[in-house]
């Protein structure tokens, strides 16, 4: 589906380096104004939810966006789909600029880019049957249906046809998520945002949905942006991982490179905090425990945004530390590995998965 063979820009993709990425995000910014006043609302500040995010996702690949709650990963995804209007930046899907599109044009493009939400119960209308929910999709986006469309679609996501005339409350969490996925793939999109699609599910069901998502990707050639906080699932499903902190990407690399050779102190802390279901390994592992909470994004720290919680910052000499306070670190290549970037003045390898 990707057309043309222009040289790739940015150097953050993995496979098919000679093809244009399916999704290109360049310097995406989303600021929310903070208003104050009773009658006359004045803007007194801004929450910089997304502050200059660039990403490339190639066709058929999965890029995961990870980070703590409030880091801006969901806002980034919504701004990419223009469910939230970006403040600035450029997003292109299969070479077509989405950011400049008018309403009608955007509506037509919506069939190419879809989203699956975390809570399938909140995102399915409780008063509509599954058949109505799915039919609505075809009607809204102006696509033809045949008699077997709905049953084929349900079959694709592993649900029996007789479920079509039931209501969302009659399904379990895992089944509802299958319906959410059916709705997203209904119109053969090119690109799907998966916003924490398995976080609300029980362990034994999680694996079923992860496998389904992988099968669909293989069969339909789908491109995924996978938003998650569960790094174990990310290690399994992603090809490439971007770690976000306070609205910006602090490290990005291919999956195994990121987990085995993390360079940013935040990535290292995040990975080391995830408990591994292996008691003997856990007894040896040293956990990096960060202090405090994520700072208020309306008033981020100067220089490096992570420095207020950084374990490495605490070990620096006063003159070295000054650099972190004064100078925001750029996202640059680390570890002598193209495609592995980190935003830290003192980035260096620390193994944290097994150590």
């Amino acid at each position: 589906m990707s057309q043309g063979s222009e040289p790739q820009q940015g150097g953050v993709g993995v496979a098919e380096p000679n093809h244009r990425p399916m999704l290109e995000v360049d310097d995406l910014v989303k600021h929310f104004p903070i208003r104050s006043g009773v009658f006359i609302k004045r803007t007194v500040g801004e929450v910089k939810a997304v502050d200059g995010v660039s990403l490339h996702v190639h066709k058929g690949q999965t890029v995961a966006l990870v980070g703590e709650s409030g880091c801006g990963k969901s806002t980034t995804a919504r701004a990419i789909l223009r469910l939230l209007e970006p403040t600035s930046g450029r997003v292109a899907l299969d070479g077509v600029d989405i950011t400049g599109m008018g309403k009608e044009e955007l509506r037509k493009t919506r069939r190419e880019m879809q989203i699956v939400f975390q809570d399938p119960y909140a995102s399915l209308n409780p008063r509509m049957t599954i058949r109505q929910i799915l039919t609505e999709k075809y009607q809204l986006l102006g696509s033809k249906m045949t008699k077997s469309t709905i049953s084929d679609l349900l079959d694709t996501v592993g649900l029996a046809e007789e479920y079509a005339d039931r209501y969302p409350h009659e399904f379990s969490g895992g089944q509802r998520q299958r319906i959410g996925i059916a709705r997203a793939i209904a119109l053969n999109p090119k690109f799907i945002v998966l916003d924490e699609p398995v976080s609300a599910l029980d362990v034994s069901i999680q694996a079923q949905i992860v496998n389904l998502l992988e099968d669909l990707q293989d069969e339909l050639g789908l491109t995924y942006l996978f938003i998650a906080h569960d790094l174990s699932v990310v290690r399994h499903i992603a090809d490439r991982v971007a770690v976000m902190y306070l609205g910006a990407v602090v490290e990005i690399a291919d999956r195994d490179e990121l987990f085995d050779r993390p360079h940013h102190p935040y990535t290292q802390a995040l990975i080391s905090a995830v408990p591994i279901p292996d008691p003997r390994l856990e007894r040896q592992r040293e956990r990096i425990v960060l202090r405090g909470d994520v700072p208020n994004p309306a008033n981020p720290p100067s220089g490096c945004r992570f420095r207020t919680r950084c374990w490495k910052f605490e070990q620096l000499s006063e003159s070295d530390a000054r650099r972190c306070i004064e100078e925001p670190p750029p996202l640059v290549q680390v570890g002598g590995n193209s495609g592995h970037d980190a935003a830290c003045h003192y980035a260096s390898l620390r193994e944290v998965v097994r150590a």
Partner: protein
């Protein structure tokens, strides 16, 4: 210790807290829901017992019952008792039970925002907890609340004391809840999904805090969770629950390295692992957990089980020792599960 506890803690070496053959049933329009159906376990000082299971396995209800937090009706308790140092809790008059709740046994919940009262200052809520169980002045109670907030690692406790729950972040609220639970130096802490709503970095902080408090006070912790990673890192012993019953129990190493129940084996196999390069495919457990109003006959897990056979049907398998010791499993195919696990490890 306050006089509230008329329980001889120096008594014979009975387990600190023991649950014996507990059944909690609910009458509903769909039939009797057997949320907890014949569960026995115990926990000792300084020990962490984990109760793992999926939603609807009955893991929370058993803990709530210990504290008398399950309203009856609709609940009925056909059998079972809870013993604190050998004395029955459920047969105790309500007034005496109340005294023990919060002083000897305390609980922390998954969602601290709903567990804290939004219209009272955090410090006042902790002080109230102190005054309910101890005969001290308001001033002393407030002072104690201040110390507790400091102990659980809340910065600026003097300021935080006079703030409301909504002014706290998620991690801070969970710390405040822990402070409240610790207000009367309980011997047992029931922690129901204490970190499920939190980010992993904050989870690491909270679990480190609980570990430290346990070391300092020799508290017994009953950790109720679905997260097998958390269990592997913090539990000494583990009960695996399925459809209202314990299906396997053993030390953390036994459960993770020698699972003998098909459900435990299935759970471990279905997990994606952060420390391993990509598995080809995850191995899910097929189907859905059963409705507790309509639990399958025989072994409740058999419709989803890869090892199921006719032997699973005639009766509900009982927990029996698989090593001649404390490692118990309720599975007729525990030998086949053992072999399957060995094969998986070799791969």
């Amino acid at each position: 210790m306050s006089s509230a506890a008329e329980i001889d803690l120096e008594g014979p070496p009975a387990p600190l807290l023991e649950v014996r053959d507990l059944r909690v049933h609910f009458k509903t329009d769909y039939g009797v829901v057997k949320a907890v159906d014949g569960v026995s376990w115990h926990v000792n000082e300084g020990e962490t017992l984990a109760i793992v299971g999926e939603s609807g396995s009955g893991k929370s209800v058993s803990a709530m019952t210990i504290l008398g937090l399950v309203p009856a009706p609709p609940a009925t308790f056909p059998t079972g008792d809870v013993f604190l140092r050998g004395r029955s809790l459920l047969k105790m008059p309500e007034k005496q039970q109340r005294k023990l709740r919060g002083s000897q046994i305390a609980m922390i919940f998954q969602d601290p925002l709903t567990a804290l009262n939004p219209v009272f200052k955090v410090g006042d809520q902790i002080a109230e907890m102190v005054r309910v169980h101890q005969d001290v002045s308001k001033h002393t109670a407030k002072k104690r609340a201040l110390d507790l907030l400091g102990e659980v690692g809340i910065p600026n406790p003097a300021v935080r004391l006079n703030q409301y729950p909504h002014e706290f972040s998620g991690g801070m609220r969970q710390r405040a809840m822990i402070a409240m639970a610790l207000a009367n130096d309980p011997h047992v802490l029931l922690a129901d999904e204490p970190t499920t709503a939190l980010d992993v970095t904050v989870q690491a902080q909270i679990m480190a805090l609980l570990e430290k408090l346990q070391d300092d006070r020799n508290t017994a912790i009953v950790l109720i969770t679905h997260d097998l990673g958390v269990v592997a890192s913090y539990a000494d012993r583990i009960n695996v629950m399925y459809a209202g019953k314990i299906v396997e129990t053993g030390t953390a190493d036994e459960i993770f390295y020698q699972p003998r129940h098909a459900y435990t084996f299935g759970l471990l196999s279905s997990l994606p692992r952060m420390d391993q390069r990509r598995q080809e495919r995850l191995v899910p457990i097929k189907g859905l957990p059963p409705s507790l109003a309509n639990v399958p006959k025989g072994c409740p897990f058999h419709p989803r089980c890869a090892f199921a056979s006719d032997q699973c049907l005639p009766e509900v398998p009982q927990l029996r020792s698989v090593d001649g010791n404390g490692h118990l499993a309720a599975c007729v195919h525990s030998d086949r599960v053992a072999m399957a696990h060995e094969e998986r490890v070799v791969q």
